[in-house]
Amino acid sequence: MRPFIEAHALCHVVRGARILDQATIGLVPGRLTIVIGPNGAGKSTLLKLLSGEIPPSSGEVFCAGERLRDTPAWRLARRRAVMAQGALLAFPFTVYDIARMGFDTMGAGLRGDEADSVVADALTRADIFHLSHRRYDSLSGGEQQRTHFARVLCQLSIGRRSESAQALLLDEPVASLDLRHQLMLMDAAREIADSGVAVLAILHDLNLAAAYADDLVVMQAGKIVAKGAPAKILAGCLVADVFGVDLRFCATPPGNAPFVLPHGHARRIAWSRPASKQPKFAQLSNAEDANRVWSRKCAILPRNESVSMSFSQSP
């Protein structure tokens, strides 16, 4: 099937630093794509470029076959919904108000009771309906996150009336949710994907990623280093190397979904830089560790001299 959102050779450079380097990705309707990777790998930047929030330094993003930069904001809003990380609200709106903002600026004239039922439905699905009239700033972090999820659901359900295909982009949607709500939100994302929406989510929980993803995308230092089915990706030593931890992979009985068991301590990570810029303390610690350090070879991970980070581990 043809991807609904398609990006080719995306680069994003900020003051000479390559935040995103040659990323190529396609989001296919009906599939749930999950992006994993350590902090600063460029996951959120990738999502921002795919949503059109920031223009790429080079490369191009297409949504529904149309160049993103040529699509007006209101039309884009009907085609894709975005849930970003931790939105800070300037004024004391209520949960209901915020959910409604999902479609208020989309230019879809809606009757009052019709709008009400769409909002109520979304609030119920996000399990925040009981707090509809509470002020946003009086909510806990997880409740705030669910409020934004309700807003995104509103946006999708109104956008669906005029668009045949849609995408949903989620940046760490479960970051502050409790276990039950994490699963509820991921179930909802799964349902949305099953209804024909192309869904992309950034997650830090590898087990959640393994359990829900159709496609897993691994990012490191601005590059997409692997793409594919979770079972395949998690099987090798790639993920362990990318995150710099020792992992043991197991499989759970139902459906043989792989799960990950971290053990021991985090690996020591040496931050190597070009010699001219290398701070003194880093050299000292490198010298000290030099004879204890061994580098783990991994066939799947392409070694690139320009990548500024390398992993090392003490035995």
Partner: protein, 340 residues
């Protein structure tokens, strides 16, 4: 709520017409208006109706316009900057207009001295101030716009920076000025509706009507902006366009009101706040209500400024702050509990 405030505005409008050094009773007002409508002009010898038609009516109308313009611009700026402390002064209109006015008063003294007498030298001073406000806003806008995107944080800082610079120059001009000029300058920086004429009222009316008429259409977009600029874009707001429209509208309206009646503080900051405290932050309601409240508030303040020390009058800025600030603080104490 809108209805209530509209009624209050009409009542205050009538009260504003009635009060002043010469009190015109409501029944007299009706009679005068009826007579003027019937004849199409003011009776020559009629002292009372002359005062009413040519002095008081334009003045109260001007108060309504200026108050509405300041309050609506304040609401727009608070929404745009996502900051409840924002006021129209932030985009440099007031400081630029102030500097231009000071320049006209002090350096252009010979030119306009004869006209400064009772009110302000309307064409030169007002036009200069209006232009000064627009120029400084354009400078701030240019400084904070890179690659087609305006950074509101940069704009805030640029506004503070340019404001300080304009303030320094204004201070320098005040230092050079003689006593009469200094008095004019002081009066101007505190604001006054003295010198309201039909021509003034009508000149600034289109600009202010433009703002008042378009503000309701910006409500939804400003609501979405409360989520953040990125989120507003995600839900379909053309963020850069909204920024440009809001800044342009506010600069024009505030420039026009400062040009016609000097710098009147507090209204633009507080009118939106009072509305927000009573009906919540929804800009679709906030914008029209704040506009009405600003107009009503300034009519009332102007009536007090005229009545309190009649036949002299207090600077309007003194009255707005002296009444508004304690009321606002009281409102904060009793209602808010962290609303801001």
């Amino acid at each position: 709520m809108i209805l209530l405030l509209a009624i209050a505005t009409v009542l205050l409008f009538a009260a504003g017409l009635a009060t002043g050094p010469v009190t015109v009773s409501p029944s007299r007002i009706a009679a005068i208006v009826a007579a003027v409508v019937e004849r199409g002009s003011v009776a020559d010898g009629d002292y009372e109706s002359n005062i009413f038609i040519n002095i008081r009516l334009p003045r109260v109308l001007l108060a309504l316009e200026v108050g509405a313009a300041l309050a609506a611009s304040g609401a727009l700026m608070q929404g745009l900057f996502r900051n409840p402390l924002a006021d129209p002064g932030l985009i440099g209109v007031s400081s630029g207009a102030g500097l231009a006015a000071a320049t006209t008063i002090v350096l252009g003294g010979g030119l306009s001295a004869s006209m400064v007498g009772g009110g302000f030298a309307f064409p030169t001073l007002s036009f200069g101030a209006f232009l000064g406000g627009l120029i400084s806003t354009s400078v701030i806008y240019a400084i904070s716009t890179r690659g087609g995107r305006t950074s509101m944080a940069t704009m805030l800082l640029a506004g503070v920076g340019l404001g300080a610079f304009c303030g320094a120059l204004t201070g320098l001009l005040a230092f050079w000025s003689n006593d009469q000029q200094l008095r004019d300058l002081t009066f101007w920086t505190l604001g006054s509706l003295n010198g309201a004429t039909w021509s003034k009222t009508m000149t600034i009316a289109p600009v202010i009507l433009l703002l008042v008429a378009s503000a309701p259409f910006l409500g939804r977009s400003l609501n979405a902006l409360a989520l953040g600029e990125a989120e507003a874009f995600h839900v379909g707001v053309r963020v850069q366009l909204i920024k440009m429209v809001c800044i342009a509208l506010a600069a024009l309206a505030v420039g026009a009101s400062v040009a016609s009646s000097g710098v009147i503080g507090f209204v633009g900051l507080v009118a939106p706040h009072i509305v927000r405290l009573s009906v919540g932050p929804d800009n679709r309601l906030l914008l029209p209500l704040a506009t009405l409240l600003g107009g009503a508030f300034l009519i009332g303040a102007d009536a007090i400024a005229r009545k309190l020390v009649a036949p002299a009058e207090l600077p309007l800025g003194v009255v707005t702050s002296a009444i508004g600030a304690p009321f606002f603080l009281w409102l904060l104490l009793t209602r808010s509990r962290g609303v801001m």
